[in-house]
């Protein structure tokens, strides 16, 4: 009787999901080589302060990991449609263990996506000290919290038909505003981006130039969104399962 076995099968199902493999893993990796290879000698890439291979390693990792997290919603909506969520509610699996398994699945997929891009980055000459690698990874992990909550919330709120476009649209828009495709260093988009956790996800790559790439604003935005979206996910879950 353990939720570890349950989580293991959740992961197995997820790894077998082709769409996530393509958009969460394959797509960022291919784009990375397409974008970063021609620019691999740029030291200060488009005013970002870091080299192009480092910038794109983190920005595309932010895309892949965001996708890994938010696509939790697609699987949850599918499980609801199949009546599986109700089936689980008549097992001893607690809501806490259920949600923990979802979050852990999201993080595991994100870690795989991140690992692949780190390897690709290293292959293109990204070199960080051990502590910089760790710091970047930890910042990304923290900045993914609001996206885990967003995915869970959308999954319990939307139908299986509407959740796909909602996820795709949200992630693409966030990626655009937050500098995934190109650094956004000034103007309205920059101001808007600074208010979003995805911007700070991309900024985690600045560890090598200033030891604290987030500052107070970054932490406030990331943690603020975490609080808001965890509340949203909690509300959507309660509404869906009728525990209100």
């Amino acid at each position: 009787m353990s939720s570890a076995t349950y989580t293991r099968y959740e992961l197995l199902r997820t790894v077998r999901e082709r769409r996530l493999m393509i958009f969460g893993f394959g797509f960022p990796l291919v784009l990375y080589f397409v974008i970063a290879v021609p620019n691999r000698h740029m030291e200060d890439f488009a005013g970002s302060g870091v080299t192009a291979p480092l910038y794109y390693m983190v920005s595309l990792a932010s895309f892949g990991t965001m996708m890994s997290m938010v696509s939790l919603g697609g699987r949850i909506a599918g499980e609801r449609e199949a009546g599986w969520t109700r089936q689980l509610r008549i097992t001893p699996l607690s809501p806490r263990s259920y949600l923990r398994a979802k979050v852990m699945t999201g993080y595991t997929m994100a870690a795989l996506s991140l690992g692949l891009l780190y390897i690709a980055g290293a292959a293109l000459g990204v070199s960080l000290s051990a502590s910089e690698w760790i710091k970047t990874t930890l910042l990304i992990a923290v900045a993914l919290l609001p996206f885990a909550a967003l995915g869970i919330g959308l999954g319990h709120l939307l139908t299986v038909d509407s959740v796909g476009p909602a996820i795709g649209g949200t992630v693409s828009l966030l990626a655009l505003v937050s500098g995934t495709w190109f650094p956004v260093t000034s103007g309205f988009l920059h101001d808007l981006g600074q208010c979003l956790p995805s911007y700070w996800l991309v900024q985690a790559g600045r560890v090598s130039i200033d030891g604290q790439p987030w500052g107070a604003l970054g932490w406030a935005v990331v943690l603020g969104w975490t609080v808001v979206l965890v509340a949203f996910a909690g509300w959507a879950y309660m509404r869906d399962t009728g525990r209100v």
Partner: protein, 317 residues
Amino acid sequence: MPGELEAIRLEGLVKSWKGPSGPVRAVRGLDVTIARGETVALLGPNGAGKSTTIDMILGLARPDAGHVSVFGRAPSDAVKAGLVGGMLQTGALIRGLLVRELVSMVASLYPDPLDIGEVLELAGLTDAAGQRTEKLSGGQTQRARFAVAVVSNPELLILDEPTVAMDVEGRRAFWVAMRAFAARGKTVMFATHYLEEADANADRAVLLAHGRIVADGPTTEIKGRVGTRTIRATLPDVAADELAALAGVNSAERHGDAVILVCSDSDQVIRELLPRYSAARDIEITGAGLEDAFVRLTGEADDDEIPATGTEVQSAR
């Protein structure tokens, strides 16, 4: 739970749902006790309140009034203790797992599950164990859902219309599996709208119509009560009471010039009816559909509130 003789006790159970055109009173006061080891059919037409009742027994819905206990505890506690297994009415399987993996995944949530191979054999899935859940046929899917419901080795198994969408052979195999499980001394409750299924597979049937119990007893007895025929005839100027007194007539109703006689023995009734009331014409004899029988039984049980036609109950779920 040890020593507890009652598997399920429902007392004064009431539940309404929010429907598109106002509240739907799905369950309107149920009192029933199911003893350990019984196999009970919850029999009723669509919208009778079967699924709503089951949802409350499983802790998926909270009663508006009344009380549910399962092995002497709250439903959610019985579920947490792994005493209850359920196969819900609507449901598919999650994708991306082999049948064996799916059953193992569910087994891992329970303290003392059955052996996976044993469950797959019981459910008739041994040959499909290595197949992906999304590749199963309709009947296999239902059997996999059955395996998910019994893998915990529950004391109480609840099945909500388990054979819907199965072919004849699939049904037969399914009930064999269910009876094999019940034979282990388990309590089983299943919802169905087929009288034959209840008759063949349960010791006792609880008939629901419009959210109330209209009959409760051994299946043989229930079958006698609802296995009736209806005679419909145009016959003005004869009091319904007079017709009701004919041998073989359970009840008589008048609708304008037409009379409707619910009969326990329609052959005998027609023999008496024609010589005595030669004006009777447009005679139709129909085997009462279960739904008609239920509506009639509800009428008997509840004179002050004759149920309307089935329109309001269609949206109960």
